[in-house]
């Protein structure tokens, strides 16, 4: 069976993690891979828990939901609590060091994602782009070139540059992680 790389992006509505999932899946398709993306839908149009799931594979993807997570991005305590136990032993849990207070586990990488976004793009709203940069730096599951293209295509007019900066900041932030932690991906 072709290998699956399973990503869960979880947090609160408004953090842009659904969009991040969409961009990740679109970038995988640009790389010539197969990808599926699903998302949780609540009645709330803003706020509330929210998550998206992305499966990336070189082969066919039948079951489009996460079975065992390779990479969890958890940007709220609730998201961490709900999803961290579904992560594979050798998987990565990427969280924000400030937003998620109670955290532990193998493969845990806690970084100041929101602060980095504020610094790079002037707004915490670009946290999703920082997360994408981190995913690119930590996993190589999608190419930076494809991510750039997908981000540009999905960025509203006037936000392309700041989104790129945030992405770059995330990518650079990944370099500060020890090779041991990276190898898990």
């Amino acid at each position: 069976m072709a290998s699956r790389f399973e990503v869960c992006l979880a947090g609160q509505g408004g953090q842009g993690l659904i969009l991040a999932g969409l961009i990740l899946a679109e970038a995988a398709v640009l790389d010539g891979k197969n990808a599926t993306m699903t998302q949780s839908y609540g009645a709330e149009q803003r706020g509330g828990a929210s998550h998206s799931e992305v499966i990336i594979s070189d082969g066919d993807i039948d079951y489009p939901r996460v079975l065992k997570t390779d990479l969890l991005v958890a940007l709220s305590q609730e998201a961490f609590d709900n999803f961290h136990h579904e992560v594979k032993k050798e998987g990565i849990i990427l969280t924000d060091s400030h937003l998620v207070e109670k955290k532990s586990g193998d493969g845990l990488i806690a970084l100041p994602i929101v602060e980095t976004a504020k610094g790079a793009a002037g707004s915490g709203a670009a946290s999703n782009m920082v997360a994408l940069g981190l995913i690119a730096g930590l996993t190589k599951i999608v190419s930076c070139k494809a991510l750039h293209k997908a981000i540009d295509a999905r960025s509203p007019r006037g936000t392309q540059r700041s989104n790129r900066w945030a992405f770059k900041a995330g990518f650079d932030l990944a370099k500060t992680i020890s090779p041991k932690a990276k190898r898990k991906a």
């Binding site: 069976m1 398709v29 599926t36 993306m37 998302q39 839908y41 079951y63």
Partner: protein, 375 residues
């Protein structure tokens, strides 16, 4: 390669809209409802660009009624909804069956009954899609399990509706409707045009069995001033209570579908040559089943998959064969077991037929299916 044929990530509901556009849709009417809303949104932007009509009506009853009216006016017409709206449409779906007016009804199923879970998947409307409207009647129901199938089945639904003068229901589920995956749309193909009558208006009878199992339907506005009704009618379309006029019509209404089962029914199969266990699935559970199949095959287990793309008329001939072909049949569904009853009926006790069910808004897990292989 044209832009819209390049590989890209597409959502199931979006692919339905693309399929409808490829099929030459000229009229769409709908009412907001999750999880079908994307279809309306996309068509509200795309239809006016090609001069077609997009209309948001006051409810689902008005939506299907407007669709049937537009179809009688010659437009390829469709509506999309979910469970509660599908319930509201039933009476008028029956009208389209009786008056033999082509139309396409998309139901992106959500969990029910009642308001249920608007954004969670279910396959609770399988029997409703067959028997939802009152009275004995035939129907065509198609069911996609992937984004590309959403496109292809929608295209096919419009063609079947025209070819057989019948409403065609596309029974989707929230998983398939909201799923985004990589697709490459095929180049557009020719669509089935409404056949034109070869006789002048005074010799035209819209319900005349002498004109074949599916007499040609002339659109209103083309000089054939006939009458259409939901009452039992004679060959000219006027109400009748005469049994000698009703019976041939009723017979033909069913026969036009029965005699064309081979053309209408689509079933795909995978790894069935040596299979000892057959998984029979439709919609999202196809994906759970195929995942389970691959894991099982890696362990050397002889498992095969029958995918139903046409639910109604039920693919009886293929399913009946399973009664002689395999040792066990498993039917995964996101309901308490609806299609499993049909499979059991057709297999007629020759082999065990077991349902795997999940309700409450989650997909059937591949592991639920694998567990049954052990048993």
């Amino acid at each position: 390669m044209p832009d819209n044929q390049k590989p890209r990530l597409m959502q199931g509901n979006e692919a339905v809209a693309e399929g409808a556009l490829a099929a030459g849709i000229g009229f769409y009417a709908g009412y907001p409802i999750s999880p079908a809303n994307e279809i309306s949104s996309i068509l509200s932007a795309r239809l006016p660009r090609k001069g077609g009509i997009f209309l948001q009506m006051e409810d689902e009853i008005a939506s299907i009624a407007a669709v049937i009216g537009a179809s009688l006016g010659g437009a390829r017409a469709a509506t999309a909804t979910s469970g509660p709206g599908f319930s509201l449409m039933q009476e008028n779906i029956g009208y389209a069956v009786a008056a033999e007016i082509p139309c396409v009804v998309i139901n992106v199923q959500r969990a029910g009954p009642s308001t249920g879970q608007p954004t969670s998947p279910s396959q609770g409307d399988v029997m409703q899609s067959r028997w939802g409207t009152h009275g004995d009647h035939p129907i065509i129901v198609l069911c996609p399990s992937s984004v590309i199938e959403c496109y292809l089945i929608t295209l096919r639904a419009f063609n079947l509706a025209e070819k057989y003068r019948i409403p065609v229901i596309i029974l989707m589920d929230e998983v398939v409707g909201h799923l985004r995956e990589r697709v490459e749309l095929p180049p557009p193909e020719e669509v089935v045009a409404r056949p034109k009558p070869t006789v002048p208006p005074e010799w035209y009878f819209p319900y005349d069995e002498a004109a074949g199992l599916v007499p040609p339907l002339v659109s209103f506005g083309e000089g054939y001033r006939y009458h259409v009704t939901g009452l039992y009618h004679d060959i000219a379309g006027f109400p009748t209570q005469r049994e000698d006029e009703i019976e041939p019509w009723f017979e033909r209404l069913f026969e036009k579908i029965e005699a064309n089962r081979e053309d209408i029914i689509q079933v795909d199969e995978e790894a069935m040559e040596d299979a000892e266990v057959a998984l029979v699935a439709y919609g999202a559970p196809v994906r759970s089943a195929r995942h389970a199949l691959r894991l099982a095959r890696e362990e050397g287990k002889a498992v095969g998959l029958i995918k139903l793309l046409t639910l109604w008329p039920f693919p009886e001939a293929r399913i009946a064969k399973l009664g002689h072909q395999v040792k066990k049949i498993i039917v995964p569904e996101m309901n308490r077991g609806q299609m499993v009853l049909e499979v059991q009926r057709v297999v007629a006790g020759r082999r065990p037929v077991i349902g795997v069910n999940r309700v409450g808004g989650q997909m059937v897990s591949p592991y639920q299916i694998l567990e049954l292989l052990e048993a």
